[in-house]
């Protein structure tokens, strides 16, 4: 039944997003992009793809920042087009996608203000998908309470921030804690929204629910996202003043590691323990396999950054893989989320290649996560 009526409201947009997806760069595009000698070549090469002549009107010495900005601009335009044409519950779903960017922007602004950066410069660095009206006023606040009362209370992020009002001062550690608490709340809320359990007290959905296909696709993606955060928080909190109880509070209560994996991670002290936990889940097993083979734990200090960068790229690959899976199923909203994430990865790839070309670091140019 859901499939029968899906196209009434969302068929056009799903078609549109699948059309957009067809424009995502493929391996052969990357192959030719990698061969470029200069950024001008890069521009010529990109103009043969769906990006078209988006850089045609830029005066000649092109910077990588311009390329990234313009590419992000395309994504933002596409997203806004989708958002403007969407009806409930898809519009709500698309809003949820932007919340993640809003959280990032809020944290960026708070951190920037803490380090006394120029507000306008900070605002320019914000992700355009997460911009909201009262955002600039964030830099006035000096503690969380004030932050919440003056600005955030009227944004959709308010419920997420409510839980971390206790943190009194804004310093780097606290901001990090806030970021993770808020993100945890956001992920859990998004997960609940996608699961449509609607009993969640934080948010009241008066909207028609999402269908089962969306639920299954989005739960898979969000569960991975949650696990990724959990593992990252654990690893990053080694040797910091964050206590283990506090650490446990930051873990999202969803994902495949939840609950016993999370419990073990909360007690972990070194990376080997994290590995042991991750091996309990089939898909995550290989994340640590490269590093353990390579250095076999003989000198822990030297191998750690290596392990982490491997881990990071494994995470990205899995994310791309899961998002690609979303396109295999029809009549569901997962494609919208997946498209935004894939496009984001593509922009990361483009930026990476462009940076490598600009800085003449051609030997590292291949370290991208190809999508198709």
């Amino acid at each position: 039944m859901e499939a029968l009526l899906f196209n009434v409201d969302s068929g056009f947009l799903e078609g549109t997003v699948r059309g957009y997806k067809a424009g995502i760069l493929t391996q052969s595009h990357y192959n030719s992009l990698i061969q470029c000698e200069t950024l001008e070549d890069f521009r010529t090469q990109l103009s043969a793809t769906d990006y078209g002549n988006f850089l045609a009107n830029e005066p000649l010495p092109i910077s990588t920042a311009t390329i990234t900005d313009k590419a992000t601009g395309i994504l933002v335009d596409q997203f806004k087009y989708l958002r403007n044409n969407a009806v409930e519950p898809l519009s709500k779903f698309l809003d949820y996608i932007t919340y993640g960017y809003m959280i990032d922007n809020v944290i960026l602004l708070i951190t920037g203000t803490l380090h006394e950066r120029d507000t306008h410069e900070l605002i320019e660095r914000c992700h355009p998908l997460g911009v909201f009206d009262s955002m600039p006023a964030l830099c006035v606040a000096s503690n969380v309470e004030e932050l919440y009362q003056s600005v955030l209370v009227e944004t959709p992020l308010a419920p997420y921030f409510r839980s971390c009002l206790s943190a009194s001062d804004l310093d780097d550690l606290n901001i990090e804690i806030i970021r993770n608490t808020v993100y945890k709340a956001y992920l859990e809320d998004f997960y609940a929204f996608c699961s449509n359990s609607s009993s969640n007290s934080n948010s009241s959905y008066a909207t028609p629910g999402l269908n089962a296909a969306t639920t299954s696709v989005m739960q898979r993606i969000l569960a991975f996202e949650a696990d990724r955060r959990t593992v990252n928080i654990t690893i990053n909190s080694f040797n910091t003043e964050l206590s283990k109880e506090e650490r446990a509070k930051l873990f999202p209560c969803i994902g495949r590691l939840f609950p016993e994996g999370n419990n073990q991670l909360a007690k972990a002290d070194e990376i080997e323990q994290v590995r042991a936990v991750c091996e309990s889940v089939g898909e995550y097993r290989q994340f640590f396999s490269d590093s353990s083979n390579g250095s076999a734990g003989e000198n822990a200090d030297g191998s750690e950054p290596n392990t982490l960068s491997h881990l990071e790229s494994h995470f990205f690959q899995t994310e791309v893989y899961l998002n690609k899976l979303a396109f295999l199923q029809q009549f569901q909203y997962g494609v919208f989320y997946a498209y935004v994430k894939l496009k984001e990865q593509e922009i990361r790839n483009i930026t990476w290649i462009a940076e490598c070309i600009a800085q003449n670091a051609r030997e590292r140019v291949g370290e991208i996560v190809p999508i198709f």
Partner: protein, 829 residues
């Protein structure tokens, strides 16, 4: 050769030619060929990245130039007053060929860069000045608007004071007196405040945030600035508001300032003292005047620069476009081993080869080089592209057929016949002199105003009509003809000659009596308004549709024959064409003959009653050999029908078996001679031999499809079933001619009688006249809107379908690919 002149009947004969172009003349050669526009170059380096090709440097330089030209164009567009752009034909062309070409391009590059630099500089200073003007204007607004707040406040204070001090009078509100009192009043203003401007869309957010930051203790006033601020670069309008916030305490003020600044507001220092405010206002206005003067001067110099650019802008655009095309084409070429010559391959209409040679020679002469490019014709197995020369008259008809499918190379092109059949089939459905005349006149207008209309950008609705203006013209003409045949003009009839019927009253009825005259052309007007008019017309038009349909299908089937002869497929003639023809004729050809025969008999004097032809056809299948003698059309009918039926029945297995049988036999023979299929091997061997003879390289990219025996069988089975079933369904499909024609006639009659009825109810007199004019105007607009446009479109669609499905399926292979030529410059712009 039979085709000395280019014709629409078959696509042009194409040759694959190879050009050896010395590097120094390459550019000019391509420029010349581009003017000619009839070579389709093949990409000889398909595996090379676009940025690794030979001329990528030049292309990049031209890209940069075109960016500058685009920059000029947008600047000119953004200019408020229209900057004249001299159209292309009026400006002196820039010659980019010949020995001085490189120098010309260099000069152009330098000129463009210089212009760009000047323009950017002027823009920057203009923008800076505008920015300052904007600030000053805002400051002025803030001063004025805050003055209002202060005045109000002052009045209130004065009012308060009046209760204690009687000497204060309402006079004090006067501006003259205010200054005296302001010094006294200043003391009252111990409240601190912040004033500034902010974007109007942000006012509410700003207010909300402030309210929260100040914990509800917000005293804020804001008013709209009436005139919008216009961004000097993007020409976007922004509307702003002046605000003033009263607050107390340094911390709070600092907070407000911070919020305001982060929300994009501009703050202006305002003095509480009215005197000082007035001073500032005066100063601001003075400065504003100065800056506006400078701004005006900068603006006018910028404008004159733009006008100068506008004079040659079109020219530059043209040159840049041309050069880019030339280098993109050059990128398709291959260098020879010593990199002295470029090798190009492309398809050329065979008859144009001499023209190309002349162009090449001209290019050599112009560039002053000694070695001319060499043209060399290649032999190849590849199917050449389909290229049909059209002119503005045939273009529309050809497009109709091309949108169904591109004709195979050298196949009979149905576009030629569509020139007549299309308007004719349309007119059969649209037959009315009046309506035909209206669309004829409309098309005639478009044709006469062709040059003028071609220059204007027509909108999406009208441009297809303009594109098909010659089709519409013929459609109108043919509709007038069929209208004459149907004797229909706006659903009335013409009495050109004496009718064959006299009407006299017998009893209560008017009865027509044959008076011996015969109406010489078209339908007798006597039928108009008769009770049995519809019965007669239906029978007549239905039969006519069948006759026309069978003729059309037979004709289309015959075209197959010409294709078979042309491509020397004699087997297809015996295995396909002949049985198909017999099948069609023995059933439906016979029906047509019966129809015509039945029309020729005067049934009132005949001994038998007129038979129903439909029943006759059905019973021919169901009970062969039996015909009711009372309804016999002619003697010996049962025998003839049995023969025809047998003929048709024989055709089915004939069609089904012959071709596969011969294919099988051929295969068998080849095997018997001891050949073993090594797929495509001998083919490439041939190619190699040929290459050696020709001394040239022919890529044998696509191998001949190995036709499997199974494929042939399946194809033929499908073909047979399809043909036999389609014969029946297509004949029935032509009945749409009758249906649409009937609907059209009825609808126009409804409109007419409605208008007539409305008019007859009116009283004579002034008002009656006016209303009847309105009624007839409405009738006319309905006629044009509903009958000519909507009905016309539907008849158009049905005619389209009859061509694409009923007629094309009989012969049209449509397996070609279109020749996308390296276009001639003039057309592409």
């Amino acid at each position: 050769m039979s085709d000395d002149y280019p014709s629409l009947l078959r696509s042009e004969q194409m040759s694959l030619v190879q050009l050896f172009v010395p590097t120094e003349v390459a550019h000019d050669t391509v420029a010349q060929l581009g003017e000619l526009g009839n070579v389709q170059f093949k990409d000889l380096n398909p595996n090379v990245n676009p940025f690794q090709r030979s001329f990528v440097g030049e292309i990049r330089r031209i890209d940069e130039m075109s960016r500058r030209v685009r920059f000029f164009a947008t600047r000119i567009q953004q200019e408020q007053d229209v900057v004249p752009i001299r159209p292309l034909p009026e400006s002196a062309p820039i010659n980019t060929t010949g020995p001085r070409a490189a120098q010309t391009m260099d000069e152009l590059d330098v000129t463009l860069a210089a212009h760009e630099q000047r323009l950017t500089q002027m823009n920057d200073s203009y923008q800076e000045l505008s920015e300052r003007t904007k600030d000053l204007v805002e400051a002025r607004h803030v001063l004025r608007e805050t003055a209002v707040f202060f005045d109000k406040a002052q009045v209130q204070q004065i009012n308060i004071r009046t209760s204690f001090d009687d000497s204060a009078a309402p006079l004090l509100r006067n501006d003259d007196c205010e200054n005296q009192y302001s010094s006294g009043a200043v003391g009252q203003f111990d409240l601190e405040f912040i004033a500034g401007t902010i974007d109007r869309t942000r006012v509410s957010t700003f207010e909300r945030v402030l309210w929260r930051v100040l914990r509800g203790n917000l005293y804020m006033n804001h008013t709209d600035i009436v005139e919008p601020f216009i961004d000097p670069v993007t020409r976007e309008e922004t509307r702003k508001n002046v605000f003033i916030i009263f607050a107390h305490g340094d911390v709070i003020l600092a907070k407000i300032r911070k919020v305001a600044e982060s929300m994009g507001a501009t703050l202006y220092p305002i003095d509480a003292n009215a005197d000082k405010r007035a001073d500032t206002l005066r100063e601001v206005e003075g400065r504003l005047e100065d800056i506006q003067n400078i701004l005006y001067n900068t603006g006018s110099t910028r404008r004159s620069e733009l006008i100068k650019i506008g004079e040659s802008l079109r020219n530059w655009q043209e040159v840049v476009r041309k050069e880019k095309l030339i280098y993109e084409t050059l990128n398709l070429f291959n260098y020879d081993l010593r990199r002295k010559t470029l090798i190009a391959e492309g398809w050329v209409p065979t008859r144009d080869i001499s023209g190309i040679q002349i162009a090449l020679r001209r290019a050599t002469v112009e560039s002053g080089a000694s070695i001319p490019p060499i043209v060399h014709e290649l032999r190849t197995h590849k199917t050449p592209p389909t290229f049909i020369r059209t002119n503005k008259f045939t273009e529309g008809f050809q497009t109709i057929m091309d949108s169904y499918g591109i004709a195979s190379y050298q196949e009979i092109n149905p576009g030629l016949f569509a020139v007549i059949t299309f308007p004719f089939l349309f007119a059969v459905m649209f037959g009315d002199i009046g309506h035909g005349f209206i669309i004829f006149v409309a098309a005639l207008y478009m044709i006469l105003a062709e040059r003028k209309l071609a220059k204007i950008e027509l909108d999406e609705m009208i441009s297809p009509f303009f594109y098909g203006r010659y089709i519409i013209l013929l459609m109108g003409l043919f509709s007038m003809y069929t209208g004459l045949m149907y004797n229909d003009i706006f659903s009335r009839s013409l009495h050109l000659w004496h009718s064959a019927w006299d009407f006299s009253t017998t009893g209560e009825k008017l009865v027509g009596v044959d008076n011996g005259y015969r109406y010489p052309f078209g339908l007798d007007p006597g039928w108009h308004g008769a009770d049995n008019n519809l019965v007669f017309l239906n029978s007549y038009k239905m039969k006519m549709s069948i006759v026309l349909g069978v003729i059309d299908m037979t004709f289309a089937l015959c075209l197959q024959l010409f294709n078979h002869i042309r491509f020397k497929r004699s087997l297809d003639i015996y295995a396909n064409f002949v049985p198909q023809m017999i099948f069609l004729q023995s059933i439906f050809g016979y029906l047509v003959i019966c129809i015509l025969y039945k029309w020729s008999i005067d049934w009132s004097k005949a001994s038998t009653s007129p038979p129903s032809l439909l029943n006759m056809l059905i019973s021919m299948f169901l009970s062969p050999g039996k015909v009711d003698p009372a309804e016999q059309l002619y003697p010996g009918q049962p025998f003839v029908q049995v023969i025809l039926l047998l003929l048709a029945a024989v055709c089915v297995p004939w069609l089904l078996v012959t071709k596969p049988y011969f294919a099988w036999k051929e295969m068998h023979q080849i095997k018997k001679q001891g050949y073993v299929g090594i797929a495509g091997n001998d083919e490439s061997l041939d190619g190699v031999l040929e290459d050696e003879e020709e001394g040239a390289v022919v890529e044998d990219g696509d191998e001949d499809e190995q036709h499997d025996f199974g494929d042939v069988v399946i194809h033929q089975v499908i073909h047979t079933i399809e043909f036999c079933l389609n014969c029946i369904s297509h004949t029935a499909s032509y009945l749409r001619l009758w249906a649409l024609s009937l609907a059209h006639a009825q609808l126009s009659e409804v409109f007419w009688s409605l208008a007539q009825a409305l008019q007859s109810t009116l009283d004579p007199g002034m008002i009656g006249w006016i209303i009847s004019v309105i009624v007839w105007l409405m009738w006319f607009s309905f006629t044009v809107g509903v009958l000519c446009c909507m009905e016309g479109l539907s008849a158009f669609l049905h005619a389209l379908r009859l061509h694409w499905v009923e007629s094309n399926s009989k012969h049209f292979e449509a397996g070609g690919y279109v020749r996308d030529s390296f276009c001639s410059w003039t057309l592409a712009s």
